[in-house]
């Protein structure tokens, strides 16, 4: 490439300067079939061990249910994966090549990990529509957002998600005035817009009716395959209906793993979690 070409390349209108481009995370490498590796993770708060030598592997495209007593460390585990909490020891890899422990929350999110929080958190003073718009995958740098314009395609995508989560009528409402259940849906919608490789879903059906639960279940099942999903839930009917691999967490480490049937049989699980 000669100078003029290089110069031309540099000045192309459809091109941005290198340093203005969003930081691309190293390519997600799932050659071994696993998308998430958590190894020997421990974390404690003021001396209280919330996660204790936790090991967990998630396959690509898998839908994994995590259950376990209150305080077992499920949410904390998600905090670690998404960069909110730094573990005291252990390692966490996204695919083979991405070390999650070196990354900040937005980098992790951009690398392709999306999360729905246990306590629904949405942007209360933005409209439902904007909540979805902001969550949409794509460039998130300062300059990119300053110049971003919604394409028709993107609008359709938002509409589609709005329909999916049943908030079409509320699209211009401030998210803050949604009811608890509606906020749960909106969070799910935001997750969909993000279109992440790995979805972490913390108690999505809390506060939903049975039927809504079913719909959520269908949604999640349909997403699995394309996406990997880690789901935390206390509703056993819901977990059972998904009929997938289940991991039981207790006192910060894995107590049992297997299908729902297997886990149900485990007396330890029954004792600490399921009850009679």
């Amino acid at each position: 490439m000669n100078m003029t070409d290089a110069f031309y390349e540099y000045g192309r209108r459809d091109q941005v300067f290198e340093f203005l481009k969003p930081v691309q995370s190293p390519m997600l490498d799932v050659a071994k079939g696993y998308i998430l590796y958590l190894e020997d993770i421990s974390v404690s708060f003021d001396g209280f061990k919330a996660i204790n030598d936790l090991n967990l592997y998630i396959k690509e495209g898998e839908l994994r249910c995590i259950i376990g007593p209150n305080g077992a460390g499920k949410t904390t585990m998600m905090d670690i994966i998404t960069g909110k909490t730094r573990p005291d020891s252990g390692s966490a890899w996204f695919g083979q090549s991405i070390n999650l422990l070196n990354m900040s929350e937005p980098e992790i999110a951009q690398a392709g990990i999306g999360r729905k929080f246990q306590k629904p958190t949405v942007f209360e003073q933005l409209s439902v529509f904007s909540n979805l718009e902001l969550s949409m995958s794509g460039a998130k740098g300062v300059f990119a957002t300053l110049t971003a314009r919604l394409t028709g395609e993107q609008k359709d995508q938002i509409d589609q998600v709005l329909a999916q989560i049943g908030l079409l009528d509320q699209r211009w409402l401030d998210a803050g005035s949604l009811s608890h259940g509606q906020k749960q849906w909106l969070e799910i919608g935001m997750l969909l817009m993000q279109n992440p490789k790995l979805l972490l879903v913390d108690e999505p059906v809390a506060g939903m009716t049975h039927q809504e639960m079913d719909r959520t279940g269908e949604l999640l099942t349909s997403l699995a395959g394309q996406h990997s999903i880690v789901l935390v839930e206390h509703d056993m009917d819901f977990v059972r209906s998904l009929a997938k691999q289940v991991t039981v967490l207790h006192q910060g480490s894995v107590l049992a793993e297997g299908s729902m049937e297997q886990v149900q049989q485990d007396p330890r699980v029954v004792e600490v979690y399921l009850g009679e």
């Binding site: 209150n70 949410t75 306590k119 608890h180 259940g181 509606q182 809390a206 506060g207 009716t209 009850g275």
Partner: protein, 231 residues
Amino acid sequence: MLSIKGLNQFYGQSHTLWDLDLEVIEGACTCLMGRNGVGKTTLLQCIMGLLPVKSGSIEFNGAPIEKLISEKRAPMGIGYVPQGRQIFPLLTVEENLQVGLPARPDRSNKIPEFIFELFPVLAEMMNRRGGDLSGGQQQQLAIGRALAIDPKLLILDEPTEGIQPNVVAEIGDIIRRLNEEIGLTVLLVEQKLPFARKVADNFCILDRGRQVATGEMTALDDTLIKRYLTV
């Protein structure tokens, strides 16, 4: 025990509750049901005085309370477990439980022992900040906190949300026990039918801010469920 008539409530311009009636019978457990966003939480907040009502009456034990300021209602014997737990995040578990003690009729300033029997985890976590507890632990704390004021009427907004199955079952048992043994009246918002069926005597269904059906739990049949509780 609690009787609501013709209640109307607005959020700014939007009319949320419409001429709503509700009867909570003394000593019984009434379950308030309805889809997301129909106004269940709003109704409970009106009862607690946390939201202003536009019109209608709320009577507790025959006394009108709709004009009363919020903090007068707890001492009358109404315990409230809000949706989303609303723990005081920086108070310790113990302090969370102590906050309501002055509202107890006997003015005792000791946390009743039975709360720790019900929720042993609270005893374990006595000196931790409420906000640090896990979601489910907070929920247990919220129930314990409401019970600490020795209420006559206990109002619970989706109390099983986020709680592990064996504790859910236990909470069910506890509600029944409190209800049966000490005659505690309960008003419950619950989405999960099996749980509702297990603990409640009566039901009341809301739809878009209106009361659309009410009766004994046994009368809650598939048609009603299909019409008002499925999407």
